[in-house]
């Protein structure tokens, strides 16, 4: 019996293979340096993991810091203001650092009647899950924390656990507004995970891989512009659906219902202050970045751009310089996504909770299914034609 059409569409060889097919780049690096024989392997492994966690924390803090700064500048200029201008000198670049220091100094307040344990661990869960999801974030073709065949699946899975932290925060605060925020978050995230995953299916069908690195490598033709969004008619609408669902998943306006400041004061954040509060914000901005990375990887070519194509055709592949170009390309694409999220936030009003549900279940889910269908059909047609 012959396998069905969909399976023949993508021959096994088409999945690009990058030089390092599996494992942890850091561990390889450590092994290359060659630690003394007498140190047990597992200590070396733990150190590699520790270094990875350190780099991740650095990345998350940097992303959060500069996304916050960018948000303030973008919103400021959209509203005919300037945004922060003093701290640090040039356009207030150190404003977020100053704010962070202030938040660290703030009194650690836990409301009376709050569930202390849950109140304390909730920001931790939120931050831990976003760290976990960021493990799948590749820095370049040769440097990554974990090369996984299931990278996108892992990001979605671990990213969805932030919900539990938010619900926990809302419930533990012992405030009615927080409880409302938590319930909205629960309802909203459950509703939007479906269209998010379904919309992602369209480029996954186009590219035929779950791995972020492979997805990027597959889009390297056409002078580095064979981006999935150009290669399948379903991918553009799928991107729009994905983007709307991503806004809802990251609690960004117009879907910022869990913290709707005009309705619920600050939702689940009402009782939080100081460094715990900033954890939620780091999560929010890291999640925005992560969603943008997914979009960049699966729709907009990942590391690939004419620059990487030129380098590759000049024979420069691998090595620090190529890696840096890859990384910069990805970060530019990701921050373009973050900027789009900000632009939408400062343009649109907030959606009501029943409309959020209607939109998720009645509009996005069926349309995303339609996109999956179109993507599959057009892939099959393509494989028949070419």
């Amino acid at each position: 019996m012959t396998p069905p059409l969909a399976l023949t569409a993508l021959p096994q060889e088409q999945v690009a293979t990058t030089p390092n097919p599996g494992g942890n780049a850091l561990l390889d690096l450590v092994n290359k340096i060659g630690p003394p024989e007498w140190i047990p392997d597992w200590i070396v492994a733990l150190h590699a993991v520790g270094a990875g966690v350190g780099i991740l924390i650095g990345i998350v803090s940097l992303i959060a810091m500069y996304s916050v700064w960018m948000e303030r500048k973008v919103s400021g200029h959209m509203q005919c203001r300037l945004g922060p201008m003093y701290a640090g000198g040039w356009h207030g670049w150190a404003q977020t650092i100053a704010d962070g220091v202030k938040l660290l100094m703030k009194e650690d307040m836990i409301p009376t009647g709050a569930d202390r344990v849950l109140f304390i661990i909730a920001p931790g869960i939120v931050l831990a899950s976003i760290f976990g999801a960021l493990v799948a974030f590749p820095i370049s073709y040769d440097f990554y924390f974990a090369r996984m065949d299931l990278g996108i699946f892992m990001i979605l899975a671990l990213g969805s656990t932030t919900t539990i932290g938010v619900i926990m925060a809302g419930w533990a605060s012992n405030s009615k507004w927080s409880l409302y925020g938590a319930m909205r978050e629960a309802a909203q995230v459950i509703a939007y995970e479906i269209p998010l995953g379904l919309a992602l299916m369209a480029p996954l069908i186009t590219l035929g891989t779950f791995s972020l690195l492979d997805a990027s490598a597959l889009q390297s033709d056409w002078f580095g512009m064979k981006w999935a969004i150009f290669t399948n008619p379903a991918n553009l609408p799928a991107f729009v659906i994905f983007w709307i669902a991503a806004l809802a998943e990251t609690k960004r306006a117009p879907f910022d219902l869990p913290e709707a400041e005009s309705e619920l004061v600050a939702g689940f954040l009402t009782e939080y202050s100081g460094i715990r509060w900033s954890f939620f914000f780091m999560e929010e901005y890291a999640a925005m970045f992560l969603m943008s990375v997914i979009a960049a990887m699966f729709w907009f070519g990942g590391f690939e751009s004419p620059a990487t194509w030129a380098l590759r055709s000049a024979g420069v592949e691998g090595g620090i310089f190529f890696g840096a170009v890859c990384f910069v390309t990805l970060v530019i694409k990701a921050f373009a996504g973050v900027f789009l999220m900000m632009w939408l936030r400062w343009t649109l009003p907030r959606v009501r909770i029943d409309q959020v549900m209607t939109m998720g279940y009645k509009y996005l889910t069926p349309l995303a299914l339609l996109c999956v269908l179109i993507a599959a059909v057009s892939e099959a047609v393509k494989s028949l034609l070419f």
């Binding site: 919103s75 959209m78 509203q79 005919c80 203001r81 419930w171 012992n174 009615k176 507004w177 409880l179 409302y180 319930m183 909205r184 306006a253 117009p254 910022d256 219902l257 709707a260 400041e261 005009s262 309705e263 619920l264 004061v265 400062w346 343009t347 649109l348 009003p349 907030r350 959606v351 009501r352 909770i353 029943d354 409309q355």
Partner: protein, 405 residues
């Protein structure tokens, strides 16, 4: 955690008898009752536009009852009016509807002038009064527009609205020296002649504002999310509007064509109306039901452009002349009583003044439109969602300073 308003009953219980649906079908499903939650919206809440408190009873996201509580900003304004001289009360009128202080000044001045039949107001003063009152109506509606955007969750229109409002305030600052509490329109005319070039600047403002106004409409009023959030929400039927004695955009949003500027004319509004300079925008039910939040919002936004037309008319006919009638330094008002209602941005602002011929009023009474319009909340809120209740409070455009006085 959850405050209970009634004794706990098992959450799931069968309905005593199924409801009969319009289709004739009888409904038999378990009535899942969650416990009600009583929430204080305010006095410190971002949606209440000041220190107003609404006690909400909610079932999940559904509001089942609402009770506005007043008095957090009560300063005894009316009693003060009975203790200070006629002119000295003028700065206090600034402070009840602090977003439309010119209109308050105007209302009070007209009420006192009604008791002084010998006093003649120069034409130039009347026209400057009209310009100021209409500019202040625009400034006030800009706040209503911006903060309504904030309530619905859009930040940026607020800043655009404030940009133009600041311009109006700068104009007022030039003519009277204050940005919020103007005390400019006084008994007998206005305090100062407009500085040279001021009227030109107003004209320039009118030109720019007309362009910006289109942007407001596109950015917020026609936005699909905004329309979905505000249509069919907080519907005030025309009957309801009559019954509650609503005035201003709240009334016109329900489609009732009533505007004090035309129907109980004061100053020279009759002349402007007869010249065809302005229309009275009415709620049309264009996006949803007649009298919903969108209609009220729409009326406010459209009134801004009508005010611009009035200002333009006044700029066309204004001529040099005195700006203050013949009033003594210490005003003594002949005995009598008078009530004058004017069209404030929020509705009918009535001033009742009663004089016994002395330097001080015997009775000073103010009918604040916000206070009257607030009463309708209790009927509008039940059955809406929590987010809708915010939209409804926003669409009433309350100024708490005026509600409590």
């Amino acid at each position: 955690m959850v405050e209970q308003t009634q004794e706990y009953k098992p959450s799931i219980q069968p309905s005593e008898e199924g409801r009969v649906l319009p289709s004739g079908e009888r409904e038999f499903f378990f009535d899942v009752s969650t416990s009600d939650l009583e929430v204080n919206m305010g006095p410190q809440h971002p949606a209440t536009h000041g220190v107003m408190r609404v006690l909400l009873r909610t079932d999940g996201e559904l509001v089942t009852g609402a009770q506005p509580h007043l008095g957090y900003l009560h300063r005894g304004a009316e009693k003060i009016g009975e203790n200070v001289e006629w002119l000295q009360y003028l700065p206090y009128t600034d402070r009840y509807d602090y977003l439309a202080a010119m209109n308050n000044n105007l209302g009070y001045s007209l009420a006192v002038e009604a008791l002084m039949p010998g006093l003649e107001i120069p034409r130039r003063a009347t026209l400057i009064r009209t310009i100021c009152a209409e500019l202040n109506r625009i400034a006030s509606h800009l706040i209503a527009f911006g903060t309504y955007g904030l309530d619905i969750g859009a930040f940026t229109p607020f800043f655009y609205a404030f940009r133009e409002r600041e311009w109006i305030q700068a104009l007022f600052e030039k003519i009277c020296g204050a940005r919020l509490t103007y005390s400019y329109i006084r008994i007998g005319g206005v305090f100062n002649e407009a500085p040279p070039g001021w009227l030109k600047e107003v004209e320039h403002f009118c030109d720019v504002f007309e362009e910006k106004w289109k942007e407001y409409y596109d950015l917020l009023a026609l936005n699909h999310i905004f329309v979905m959030r505000t249509k069919d929400i907080g519907v005030i039927t025309p009957e309801m509007a009559y019954d509650f004695g609503l005035t201003g955009p709240m009334l016109r949003g329900s489609g009732i064509d009533f505007d004090l500027r035309r129907d109980m004319p004061y100053m020279d509004y009759t002349e402007i109306w007869e010249a065809g300079a302005y229309q009275i925008p009415l709620g049309s039910g264009e996006k949803g039901t007649l009298g919903d939040c969108w209609d009220r919002f729409d009326v406010r936004v459209k009134e801004m452009i009508e005010s611009i037309k009035i200002v333009r008319y006044c700029l066309g006919v204004i001529e040099p002349g005195p700006v203050l009638g013949d009033v003594p330094k210490v005003i003594k008002v002949p005995p009598g009583e008078a009530y004058v209602g004017i069209e404030n941005p929020r509705g009918e602002l009535g001033h009742y003044s009663h004089s016994d011929g002395g330097k001080v009023a015997v009775r000073c009474r103010v009918r604040g439109p916000s206070f009257v319009n607030l009463a309708v909340l209790e009927d509008l809120m039940p059955g809406t969602l929590l987010a809708d209740s915010v939209a409804i409070i926003g669409s009433t455009d309350i100024v708490v300073g005026e509600t409590d006085r």
